[in-house]
Symmetry: C2
Subunit: 166 residues, 2 copies
C-alpha cells in the first residue's frame, strides 16, 4: 500500500473540519504535512473521481468533501487510492494443473482463493465501519486543540487565542 | 500481493500430500501448474528461510514441509513470501504537522494508523486460523481424487487406477 493512503486519510479528516463550502487548495493541504503538493494533488484527484471530494475551480478553489464525513468510510478512501482489486489476486493456476479446467472460475471455487477472499472481506468490513467523521471525533476528544489549529492553518483564519492577543 | 503467494500456498498443500521424508524438486512442483521453475524456486527458498519448508540436497533432493501441515498457517506462508510489514505503513506525517513532535511514535498514537493496524490484525487473525492441513482436507472432501492424482504427478508414483490398466 502506498503512502497516498496515509496522506489521503489525514487530508480528509482535515477537510472534515474546515467550514462547509470552503475549498482548500492542494498547496495548503500539502504544506500542512510538508508533503510534495504535485503528488498529493494526484491522490486528491483520485478522491474526486471516487466521489469523496469535490474540486472547486477559481481563485478560491481547491478541494472539499463531496459528502458528509460520517458517510465516508476509511475503506472508501483506501479503495479510491489503491484501486478496488483484492490484495490477493487469484491467477487461477489450477487451470494449468493436470486436472484443470480452462472454463472453471477458480477465483470462486478454489479453496485457497476462497480463504484469501474471506480474509479480505474481514479487512474491508473493519475499514468500512470506520468513518472520517468517527476518526475526526476521536482526535478531537484526545487533542482538544487539533480541530481549531488545523482550520487556522488550512484556511488562514486566525484561531480565537491568537486573535485575542492582537 | 504478488503471484508468489498463490504459488506457495498451492505448493504447500501439494507437499502436505506427498509421503513424509520424500522431497519434491522445484522443477516438478513448477511443472504441476506450468509455472516458471526458477521463479517458483525463489518462493520456495523464502519458505525455507521462514522454516516452513526444508530443502534436501542430492539426486533425490528437493523440498518438503519442515513441520506438520496443521502447524503451518496460511498467514505463515503469506508473511514468508510478502514480508512481515503491515500493508499500511505509517509514514508518521504528523511529525511534520504544525503541532507535530519529532519524538512521537505516531505509528502507535495516530488514530488513522491505529485504525489501519486494527484492520490488519483482523486480516492476520483470519489467515492465522486457516492451516495448510485444513485447506488440504477441504480439497480432499470436495475432490476425492485430488490427493492421489497430485502425489502421482509430483512423485512419479502411478495412481491405483492407472496401475490397474497396465
Amino acid at each position: 500500500m502506498g503512502q497516498g493512503v496515509e496522506w489521503a486519510l489525514h487530508s480528509c479528516v482535515n477537510m472534515s473540519w474546515t467550514p462547509v463550502g470552503e475549498a482548500v487548495s492542494s498547496v495548503r493541504l500539502a504544506a500542512f504535512y510538508k508533503l510534495p503538493a504535485a503528488y498529493l494533488n494526484k491522490q486528491l484527484q483520485a478522491l474526486v473521481r471516487a466521489g469523496i471530494l469535490a474540486s472547486v475551480s477559481g481563485p478560491r478553489g481547491g478541494f472539499q468533501l463531496a459528502r458528509r464525513a460520517d458517510r465516508i468510510s476509511v475503506l472508501d478512501v483506501v479503495l479510491a487510492i489503491e484501486g478496488k482489486d483484492d490484495a490477493f489476486r487469484c491467477g487461477g493456476i489450477l487451470k494449468d494443473a493436470p486436472d484443470g479446467a480452462m472454463e472453471a472460475d477458480y477465483a470462486r471455487s478454489c479453496l485457497i482463493s476462497q480463504t484469501m477472499r474471506h480474509a479480505e472481506v474481514t479487512w474491508r468490513t473493519e475499514l468500512s465501519r470506520q468513518t472520517i467523521a468517527g476518526i475526526a471525533q476521536s482526535i478531537e476528544r484526545r487533542f482538544p486543540d487539533a480541530r481549531e489549529e488545523t482550520v487556522r492553518q488550512l484556511t488562514g483564519v486566525r484561531g480565537r487565542q491568537e486573535a485575542r492577543t492582537i
